[in-house]
């Protein structure tokens, strides 16, 4: 029963870790560079989830002031993650532009084929 309780109260963290590990797995195991970047953004999103989970109060409300409410979730993680999302998408765009350039130079975005071409040249 105690373990079940821990499972329920820490479920957010478990899923966060699952998403993070899935992103890591994609980055290591998949050779397609676009998919690698999607894996990286999964990894990134799991960090957003971790921050926002920490800021939440169950039974509280969104941090918009109103005299009717007493409990608000912590606004600071929201501010940090707002910045992180926008920075994340700009680095994502830069990575994809690099992929496009790599495709121009090598004619493929598969890592293994690129290595093979490098070795052959």
């Amino acid at each position: 029963m105690d373990q079940l309780k821990v499972f329920v109260t820490h479920y957010n963290y478990f899923i966060t870790i699952f998403l993070m590990v899935a992103g890591l797995y994609i980055v290591i195991a998949r050779g397609n560079m676009i998919k690698k970047l999607i894996g990286l953004s999964l990894f990134q999103t799991s960090v957003y989830l971790l921050y926002l989970s920490a800021g939440k109060i169950v039974g509280g409300t969104a941090p918009i002031y109103d005299p009717a409410f007493k409990f608000y979730s912590n606004p600071l993680p929201h501010v940090l993650i707002l910045t992180a999302i926008v920075v994340g998408v700009s680095t994502f765009a830069l990575g994809l532009a690099l992929v496009v350039r790599i495709h121009e130079a090598y004619g493929t975005v598969e890592e293994d084929e690129i290595f093979a071409k490098d070795d052959g040249a």
Partner: protein, 221 residues
């Protein structure tokens, strides 16, 4: 703790249970909000498995878009409304558009699986186990007296209330206390935009020589 009465932390007179959870609707002792959260998170995990397994790149991009929308819903339930809006527009909108543009430019449709999966699975399992071990000492989800709500947050909340405008605390914290974050963010976006433009410049010139060109992807961030 806090004499102003507005706080992320414990306020006198509020009905807080021994577990640190605010009294509210609950099923078998689990708050309804947490249950909703768990359902959405489980869906998120399912979509993630689908992303890992999907071989068709177009499918992967669509699943990534679904993932972003689900993540935005999760953020809504986590009371992060501003973040949810940004995630829905930026994560599900702009990311999908630039991914589709990249797919078009690289003609990446399907890819074979040629590498071994033993080492990646091993690394992932070890990292995951270490992280799960690490979360065991974290406070339970959603309690009022978690350390994160004790420090600086009450100050921000009280100050936002005393400012009177804007009522959205995220806006007031962002603009009044953490403007340098946004300055740094702008610098990053600017640099990334220049980088994208420079990387795709040669291509654009070549395309213009051939046909009318693809359209600029530099200004999307």
């Amino acid at each position: 703790m806090n004499k102003d009465g507005v706080s992320g932390a414990v306020v006198e007179g509020a009905s807080v249970q021994g577990t640190g959870l605010i009294k509210g609707a609950s099923i078998e002792g689990v708050p309804v909000e947490s249950l909703l959260m768990m359902v959405l998170l489980t869906l998120l995990a399912v979509i993630t498995i689908a992303i890992v397994r999907q071989r068709n790149m177009f499918g992967v991009v669509m699943l990534a878009s679904i993932y972003s929308f689900l993540m935005a819903s999760v953020m809504m339930v986590l009371d992060a409304v501003d973040v949810a809006m940004t995630e829905a527009s930026v994560g599900a909108g702009i990311s999908t558009v630039i991914l589709l543009a990249t797919l078009h430019l690289t003609k990446s449709v399907e890819y074979p699986q040629v590498r071994g999966v033993i080492i990646p699975i091993f690394v992932s399992v070890v990292v995951g186990a270490a992280l799960i071990w690490g979360t065991m000492s974290l406070p339970p989800f959603g309690i009022v007296d978690a350390p994160v709500h004790m420090h600086t947050a009450p100050t921000y909340l009280a100050a936002s209330r005393d400012h009177l405008a804007p009522p959205n605390m995220v806006t007031s914290v962002l603009a009044d206390y953490r403007s340098f974050d946004t300055l740094g963010e702008t610098a990053v976006i600017f640099t990334a935009g220049i980088g994208v433009l420079m990387l795709l410049k040669g291509r654009r010139r070549k395309m213009l020589g051939e046909s009318e060109g693809q359209g600029d992807r530099g200004g999307e961030a």
